[in-house]
Amino acid sequence: MTDLVIEGADRTPSIQCLFALANIKLAGKSYPENTGKFYAPLMEWINQFFSTENTLTVDIELIYFNSSTSKFMLDLFESLEDFADDDGKNITVNWRYDEDNETMLEYGEEFEEDIEHIQFNLISL
């Protein structure tokens, strides 16, 4: 399986999906013009990854994101929850935030509320 690497831009975060490390890194700002289209390759990669693998760590370090990205995050976490709940996959999400960025901590806490089957860590930087 190939890695997925998308360079960060003004409106979009950098995405690194590394198969060998079983790791996804998502960092930067996220307010794409078309959120669904932008994140579609990431969702596709995750589905392919879990067709053979069982453990995944997702590191998210966003400094700003819009409502559409919030919706995507909910979809992502729901999907990961399903993989963990239905297929017994071992998934860890590290929500990394700058210690001065209280808003990002609050968003992390909000996402954490609906998480039941995956490990969700709030990590202050």
Partner: protein, 360 residues
């Protein structure tokens, strides 16, 4: 309890009661009909249960999304407030900065009309210099507070006149003022030159008012302005270092304008030949003695600006020009239509022309 939660609970209750209702019934136990009924019922309940599960998820997600949207809204409001605060601060600072630079340069920088970098260009400009004759003597007579007040009052009034005529106020050097026309905005060489001369005339008129005002306030020194104007190609742009630059002009034509000012008499507006050629149809000027300027081999012809033609009601009646070397006066009310006097005058003028030519 919100509506979604109520729907979910009602749906769960229906599912639960349908499970209870599907308990074995004696009449159908063991029959094929009973088996089919149970199979259909089970399939329906499974689908219903799956739908309910999805609905619960969707409802939960929707609620979470609403909350997240509120958070985004709060974040945007906070950012907006911060931006407003920054905008106010920026506005206050830029207003203060505007007191230190010419409005044209301010617009150029703050409206992003030009990049702030060390670059320059050659342009034809009309350059103006003024100086207050007797100001140095005044500084020794007046206490510092009065002197500051007089100087600031003078510069304030003159700045207003500069702005009124669209000049770019380059700098104040003590009581001296340097202004140029034609950059960043030019209305054409002629209009720029006429604007510069109009400004000088307004300044001279204002100085007469200020003198009276100061006299009433007990500052009895008779201050007069000396003004010099020249038109020519200059290098205009940002000069200095990346950290501290001046938007100004350089070149021999600037030096010539400064020289015009220094040789002008008190209350006099002295202009160069190039400026004269651009303004002569608008304002009445008299030729003056050529002046020698450092870097220019031949003496430079200068002209004294008198006033607008319209403001010279007696110019048609009385013509008067004088210098150190000559004096010409003609009373046109007496010449009028008198052909004899007219012939006489023309004859005298021709004699003068011949003499001047011969003396060459």
């Amino acid at each position: 309890m919100d509506k979604e939660q109520k729907i979910i609970e009602e749906a769960e209750a229906i599912l639960e009661s349908s499970q209870k209702d599907s308990s074995p019934d004696a009449e159908y136990v063991g029959t094929e009909r009973r088996k089919k009924w149970l199979k259909d019922d089970f399939s329906l309940r499974t689908e219903y249960s799956s739908l309910l599960k999805h609905y619960k998820k969707m409802s939960k997600k929707l609620n979470r999304m609403v909350k997240l949207t509120d958070m985004h809204q709060n974040e945007m409001n906070a950012l907006n407030q911060e931006l407003e605060h920054e905008k106010d601060h920026f506005q206050k600072v830029s207003e203060q900065i505007s007191n230190y630079i010419s409005p044209q340069i301010y617009d150029m920088v703050f409206k992003g009309e030009k990049d702030v970098k060390l670059e320059n260009s050659r342009k034809k400009l009309t350059i103006f210099f003024s100086d207050v004759a007797g100001f140095t003597a005044l500084t020794e007579q007046l206490d510092p507070e009065t002197m500051t007040s007089v100087l600031n009052h003078y510069l304030e009034e003159m700045s207003d006149i500069v702005l009124k005529h669209g000049g770019t106020l380059d700098k104040f050097i003590g009581d001296a003022i340097m202004v140029f026309f034609g950059d960043p905005v030019s209305h054409g060489d002629q209009s720029d030159a006429v604007a510069a001369v109009n400004m000088a005339l307004d300044m001279r008129a204002k100085m007469n008012e200020l003198r009276e005002e100061w006299a009433r306030d007990g500052v009895g020194v008779q201050l007069q302005i000396r003004m010099g104007i020249n038109t020519g190609f200059c290098t205009v742009g940002n000069f200095g270092s990346k950290k501290r630059m001046d938007y100004t002009i350089l070149g021999s034509q600037v030096n010539l304008a400064s020289r015009m000012e220094s040789v002008a008499n008190e209350g006099e507006i002295l202009i160069s030949e190039d400026t004269y050629n651009l303004v002569k149809s608008d304002v009445c000027c008299f030729p003056k003695v050529p002046v020698s300027v450092k870097g220019i081999a031949q003496p430079v012809q200068t002209y004294q600006v008198m006033d607008y033609y319209n403001n010279l009601p007696d110019v048609t009646d009385l013509f008067k020009v004088s210098s150190e070397a000559f004096s010409v006066t003609a009373n046109f009310t007496k010449i009028g239509r008198n052909d004899l006097e007219k012939t006489h005058l023309l004859s005298v003028l021709q004699q003068m022309i011949n003499l001047v030519e011969y003396r060459k």
